[in-house]
């Protein structure tokens, strides 16, 4: 088991630089998720750690050992591919035991390790099948089994759940989490799905355009996004955001609607400053239907028209017109609402976020 360190890691394809000198410390036995929109460099970074892509600059260390120029086979890693990448001409057992066969282990040894992994993943009855005879979820489990058998220092996952349907995805996600608890191995997990990243990882690395935007625990990146991008990327439905100008203790939006400056930012803003105001759907709710406000004095109430509602059973997403746009709010213990109906909404401003309009960086309150 091993920590993984990236130092000023750069990837260039010809003149095009896609990863711009990122630094990252992955602790031993940590589960870390690299998350970001497509093209942000997360997969490229993972492939560099795996040794499938050359490193253009900087260094990668696994277990304190520089591995920049080592081939994949010398890094003692396992990787689960988005496409599963099972060997179609081999049975499940042969697929799982392939790495040991290449390493020249004895047949009994291979069988023992394969059986052990098969037991963990409940694959025992499938060992003699070929990949073509398996369902998508089974293939995914075989791919994980192949990774386990190798007993690597580091597990790498490249969007392993993307090809599964929604129900299976939740199921396999739980299995991966159990696997981590059991294997106590360092795991690096690439995904574009923030829900996967939030549910699985100890820490999340949010990437954008080849840079790291923020590294933090799921709670940190959710509650204290360091940039506007992170705020918009993490959380579902995404944070409501709009631009406003500070004027006399109030935030004035383009349409002229006003909100009080959130109390914790009171001393930090100057008049005329342009900011991006952000508030999560959980922190806007029809009065009486929300979470408990942290600070009751920071709740601002205003009557707003309902556009549409999306009932989810235990809660309803209510879209309201604010500053000429649809803002989404989360209504707990829902009651029926009609479109066009005017509803008294509570804005819990103690949980509001403000971002610098130019840099996108979060303002400190």
């Amino acid at each position: 088991m091993a920590p993984v360190t990236l130092r000023k890691l750069v990837k260039r394809y010809g003149a095009l630089e896609v990863v711009h000198g990122i630094d990252l410390e992955v602790k031993d036995r940590e589960f870390i998720a690299l998350v970001g929109p497509s093209g942000c460099g997360k997969s490229t970074t993972l492939r560099m750690i795996a040794g499938l892509e050359d490193v253009s600059g900087g260094a990668i260390e696994i277990g304190g050992r520089a591995v920049n120029d080592l081939p994949p086979r010398a890094r003692n890693i396992s990787m689960v591919f988005q496409s599963y990448a099972l060997y179609p001409h081999m049975t499940v057992a042969e697929n799982m035991g392939f790495s040991l066969k290449i390493a020249g282990r004895s047949a009994e040894d291979i069988k023992a390790r394969v059986d052990e992994a098969a037991a963990i993943l409940d694959l025992g009855h499938l060992l003699e099948r070929r990949p073509s005879q398996l369902s998508g979820g089974q293939r995914q489990r075989v791919a994980m089994g192949r990774a386990i058998v190798r007993q690597p220092d580091v597990f790498l996952f490249d969007e392993p759940l993307s090809n599964l349907d929604a129900k299976l995805r939740t199921q396999v996600r739980t299995e991966i989490k159990k696997l981590h608890a059991r294997m106590k191995a360092t795991m690096i997990y690439v995904t574009h799905d923030q829900v996967e990243a939030m549910t699985l990882s100890d820490r999340i690395v949010i990437m954008r355009d080849g840079h790291i935007e923020q590294v933090g625990t799921p709670e940190e990146v959710f509650q204290k996004p360091s940039t506007k991008f992170v705020a918009g990327f993490i959380g579902s439905p995404p944070m409501n955001m709009d631009e406003a100008i500070v004027d006399n203790g109030q935030l004035v939006f383009a349409s002229g609607v006003r909100l009080p400056v959130p109390p914790r930012f009171a001393g930090a803003l100057r008049a005329g400053q342009k900011v991006t105001f952000g508030l999560r759907p959980d922190d806007i709710y029809p009065t009486g239907h929300g979470l408990h406000a942290g600070d009751a004095s920071a709740v601002h109430e205003v009557d707003l028209p309902v556009t549409i509602t999306e009932p989810l059973g235990n809660e309803t997403l209510v879209f309201i017109q604010f500053n000429g746009r649809d803002w989404v709010s989360r209504m707990l213990n829902p009651r029926p609402l009609r479109s066009g109906e005017s509803v008294r909404m509570s804005f819990d401003l103690s949980r509001a976020h403000l971002f610098d309009i130019d840099t996108g960086k979060a303002l400190e309150g």
Binding site: G51, P71, M79, F81, S83, A85, L86, S132, R139, R146
Partner: protein, 288 residues
């Protein structure tokens, strides 16, 4: 008649027409072969008869007996020709496959300068009619003194087959997902091992078809072989057919018998390898 039974009837009629059509097509394809076998077994008079005699009156293996009787007794040195054909075809096929695998893999997996131009260049060599090359080839081989050797024919056939084997094998390697070789490397393989353990078995059907193609081209080639070969040292079976032509006569029966001797091994080989031509072997590797 209700609408269902009329549709059923139509489907049956269409199916019958389909089968008849297929039978006719197959007859056109198979008849010449059948005619060769038949002609090798019947007397020359019957072969030359007009109108044609469809059902032979007597059948004998005389032509085969004579063929293997040896030179001077109406026979031809068929074992020599057979040996030459086999050595030349097998060797040139093995070499063309080796080059084709290396080249096809490179075209399928790597990016390099002028890739498509080089690829097109290979294909263009196939656009030159082989017979147009016979004179220059003859002159070069005569000067270098390799005329009438196995080597000269092997060289020619490798050059003839390589563009096609590269093209065919390239297509099959493209179908093998790149992820598989990467997974194999992570599992501890060197790139060389990953190729032989994973990519080669999966591209196997394509390599086998390229092999059949190259072998049959070499085995059946006549135009160039007739120029480059002289004696039993290097004459191949197709060239050997000419032994049955004399100044004023052609022994059609003997020729047909030799043709059958030529066809049988080629057919056998194709049947053996055909079993391995199971396509869709890569199914289940990725996604699904």
């Amino acid at each position: 008649m209700d609408i269902n039974s009329s549709h059923r009837l139509r489907r049956r009629l269409l199916k019958t027409a389909h089968l008849i059509g297929l039978f006719l097509a197959m007859a056109v394809i198979c008849l010449p072969g059948l005619w060769i076998v038949l002609s090798s077994l019947r007397p020359t008079v019957e072969i030359m008869a007009k109108p044609p005699v469809w059902i032979p009156e007597s059948i004998s293996l005389d032509a085969y007996r004579a063929m293997f009787a040896g030179a001077g007794q109406g026979g031809v040195p068929v074992w020599d020709y057979f040996r030459n054909s086999l050595i030349i075809s097998v060797t040139s096929t093995v070499i063309a496959l080796a080059i084709g695998m290396a080249g096809g893999y490179a075209f399928a997996r790597y990016r390099f300068k002028a890739k498509s131009a080089i690829f097109l260049g290979f294909m263009l060599t196939r656009a030159v009619p082989g017979i147009a090359l016979s004179l220059p080839l003859f002159m070069i081989y005569a000067r270098t003194g390799i005329i009438d050797t196995h080597f000269s024919l092997i060289l020619t056939y490798v050059a003839l087959n390589v563009p096609f084997t590269i093209w065919l094998i390239d297509g099959f390697f493209r179908q093998v997902p790149k992820d598989l070789a990467e997974a194999a490397q992570i599992d501890g393989c060197t790139p060389w091992q990953a190729f032989w353990q994973v990519e080669f078995p999966l591209a196997g059907p394509g390599i086998a078809s390229a092999g059949i193609f190259a072998f049959l081209t070499s085995w059946n080639e006549y135009a160039l072989a007739s120029q480059i070969t002289r004696s039993v040292n290097s004459k191949t079976l197709p060239v050997g057919l000419l032994d049955y032509t004399a100044e004023f006569t052609i022994d059609w029966r003997g020729m047909c018998a030799l043709a059958v001797v030529m066809i049988v091994p080629a057919l056998t080989l194709t049947f053996i390898i055909q079993k391995h031509l199971v396509s869709g072997l890569t199914f289940g590797a990725v996604k699904g």
